[in-house]
Amino acid sequence: MKKIEAIIKPFKLDDVKEALNAKGIKGMTLSEVKGYGRQKGHKEIYRGAEYVVDFIPKVKLELIVEAEQVEEVIECIRQAALTGKIGDGKIFVLPVEDVIRVRTGEKGKSAI
C-alpha cells in the first residue's frame, strides 16, 4: 500500500475528485494548506503600503491506495489538476505499512 499526497490548486478540487471517483477511488482525506514554490505570491496593499504574500492557498489530498494502483491514480490526479501554469502542484508517493479501519478493525488492503 502507498500513500499519495497531492498538493493541488483549490479550484481544481472538484475536477480531481470527480476524476478519482470515475476510477472507482472512493476514499480520500483533504486539508487546506499553503504552498511555497516557484509560483510567485501576490501583492497586497495595506493602507498605501505594499506587502508580498508568499504562501499561496492549496489543497492537499491524501489517499491510501494499493501499490498497483499508484501509477493510475497519479496520472488521474495529474490530468485533472493540470492547468499548465506554474503552481499546479506536486504529487508525492510514500510507503505505508498498514491500514486499519476503525469501524471494523479490518487491516491491510481490505481496510482501504
Binding site: 497586497e44 496593499i45 495595506y46 493602507r47 498605501g48 503600503a49 505594499e50 506587502y51 504574500v53
Partner: protein, 407 residues
Amino acid sequence: MINNGDTAFVLAAAGLVLLMTPGLALFYGGMVRGKNVLGTFMQSLMMIALVSIEWVALGYTMSFGPDLHGVIGSLAWLGLNTVGAAPSPTYATTIPQSVFMIYQCMFAIITPALITGAIAERVRFAPFLVFALLWSLLVYNPVCHWVWGSGGWLAARGVLDFAGGLVVHLTSGAAALAAVLVIPPRSGFGKQSFMPHNLPMTVLGTGLLWFGWFGFNGGSALAANGIAATAFVSTHLAGMAGMAAWSLIEWAHRGKPTTLGAASGAVAGLATVTPAAGFVGPVPAILIGVIAGVICYNAVNFKNRIGLDDSLDVIGIHGVGGFVGTVCLGVFAAKAVNPAGADGLLAGNPAFLGRQIFGVMVVGAYAFVVSWVLLKVINAVMGLRVSSEAEVTGLDLHEHSETAYNN
C-alpha cells in the same frame, strides 16, 4: 423650556455616539491579528465603564461646570449635583440637562478609545486603564472646558470646534503621537507584515462609525433644527468625499483601490469635517473631505517611511484630521451658513483662520506634552508594554485568558 423634538433628537444622538465605541472596537479589532482582537476590543469597551464613572463623578463638572478663570469648571456639579431633568440655562436650553450631560459623556468615552489604535497589540491592560483615567482628567476635561465650556478661554478667544476636531480628534491624535514615541514598536515591526485579520469586521465598524457620526456631528447642534441639518449633510458629504479621494489616490498610486483604503478615507473625511460640520455648507464640506482623503493618505504613507509604529494610524487619521479640519474651518466658515459661527478666510476674515491655527497649536501642544509626561511616568511605575513572550502569545490569552475564535 423642553422641546420634545430636540430631546428626542439628542437622546437618539447620544445612543448613536455610544454605538461608535463598539463600532471603533470593531474597526480597530478587524485590523489587528487574531490573537489580539479581544484585547483591542477591551481597550475601547472598558472606556465605557471607566470614563462614564469619571464623567459623572468629576468630568462633567470639570468640563461644563461653572467656569474658573476660563481654565476649568468648578466642582459645583460634583457627582452630577443639581444636574437633572431641567434644562441648563447655559447649554442646550431646550432639552433636559441630564440629556446634555449623557450626550457629552459619550464623547468623553470615545476619545481615549481612539488613542488605543496607535499602540495596538502591545500594551498591558491595567496601566492603560490608569493612563486613560488620568488622561481624561488632565487632558480631555480641561480642553473640553477651554473649547466648549461656558467661559472657556479658547472659546472666549473665538476658537470654534463644532463637534470635536480639537476636543476629540486632535487631543487623541496628539496623545497617540506621544504614545508611539514612548512605547516601542511591535516586535517584528518593519520586517513582518501585520495583515488585518478580518477586514469585514473593519468594514462593519466603519459602517457603525459613519452611522454614529450623524449623532456625533448632527447631535452637536443640540436641537433638531437647521444647524443639525447642516451638520448632518456636511458629515455625510465629507465622509463620502474622503472615501472617494483616498480610493482614487490609492488607485493612482498603487494600482488598486482597497476596501481598507475606502474605509480609512471615510473615517478621515468624517473626522476632519467634525470641527466644521455645523459651520459650513455642502460644497466646503466636500472640499474638506477631499482634502482629508489626500492629506491623511499622505500622512499615513509618510509615517510608514519614517518607521513610526502608529499601528492603526491614529496620528495620520485622527490627529491630522483634527488639525486639518480645524484649520479648514478657519478657511471655509461662513456666517451665512450659521450665524452663530464665524466668517472664515474665504468670507474675508483671515483673523478667524489665525484664531483656529492658534487653537490647534495650543491644544495640540498641551495634549502632546501632558500625554507624554503621563506615559513616561506610568511606564516607569507600572510598565506599559507587554513582555515579548506575551506579545507572541497575544493580548487575548495573556491579558484576558480568552481566545476569540474556537471551533
